[in-house]
Subunit: 189 residues, 2 copies
Amino acid sequence: MTRYISLRKNAAVLELAILGFLYDAPLHGYVLRRHIAALTGHVRPVAESTLYPAIKRLEKAGLLVRATEPGAVAAPRHVLRLTEEGRRELKRRLAEPAQREITDENNWFTLLAFLRHLADPAAQAAVLRRRLAFLEEPTSFFYDGDRPLAAEEVDDPFRRGVLTIARATSRAELAWLRDTLASLDGVGR
Amino acid sequence: MTRYISLRKNAAVLELAILGFLYDAPLHGYVLRRHIAALTGHVRPVAESTLYPAIKRLEKAGLLVRATEPGAVAAPRHVLRLTEEGRRELKRRLAEPAQREITDENNWFTLLAFLRHLADPAAQAAVLRRRLAFLEEPTSFFYDGDRPLAAEEVDDPFRRGVLTIARATSRAELAWLRDTLASLDGVGR
DNA sequence: GGACTGTACATCGGAACCGATGTATACCTG
DNA sequence: CAGGTATACATCGGTTCCGATGTACAGTCC
């Protein structure tokens, strides 16, 4: 009986980042915003008018509480603190990520940034194995009918670039995944 | 006086893909959907209920026209064909991509998939140079205050993975970009 | 002292997202 | 010939997105 707080896909990653940052320490919205900008902002900036409603959603869902503090330099701050349910929800989202969080590199990186909060090495390894399975299934970007095309078969230099870069990424990640899984399994034994 | 068809960010990439695929040949929605699924579907699936409204937007904007054909095996097909304005708009979007299309790898790959339609090598090179500039500015995912952290400085194995993978991707892409720019510049002379 | 930048939040409203659901035809399989 | 799958499109409606805009205070720069 899994409860979903948000229906939208982008919302899910944003909420994950909020929960992840707050897991370590209470923060107010402005600092949280800068943390998120540092993590993913160079790729996809997060608008203030997206962040603040997201915070409200999480508050409404009982995952965090807001405490108003007199503003040191500006308007009063709302210090955000995770509730027990918020901590549980973060762990649930880390342990059972949606498929999008596995397949989309942006989402996956956000998930990795907080995976350490899932203290159990076996649970962490299970998540990495989902990514491993995704990377191991042969997929391309370009097809001749149903047959995936290799970089060498593609004439267009730009499409070739896509395949070349994707292959390099995939190799580096597979190597890292296997290393990390080996050491996680070592801990578990 | 640039006209924007869509305000949303995801919409812009989806529309780019539609215009890009139709540039080569007229297609009906179902085949278009499978093309898009092959290109980006393994990472971010596109829902039918997102695609069909997007087609309608482009039609309304005069970028494509629909011709109803009796369905060979099922319901009547709407064969989509770019108008002259649609062809111009694709080239405009390829030549002057939004910043998101440069920074977000998913969007960038979609753009690369169709960049050949921008026949002019100098214009193609200008787009690649924007990506080059983005990759060359030093950014990290994790910071100690304002100082970006290198992979070696990060304890958390998962965050280290993010940096390791990102670095490998970046290296591969920089090498490809420099190669490709060199050969594009060669053509232009 | 006016202009600008940074801090710290908030609301509004039109646009887009997308799961669920519906309609219809054609083919294949047991 | 019923049931499942593939083709081919469409609408509905709750949710989310996000640019524009507003409020307010503090520090900096010229």
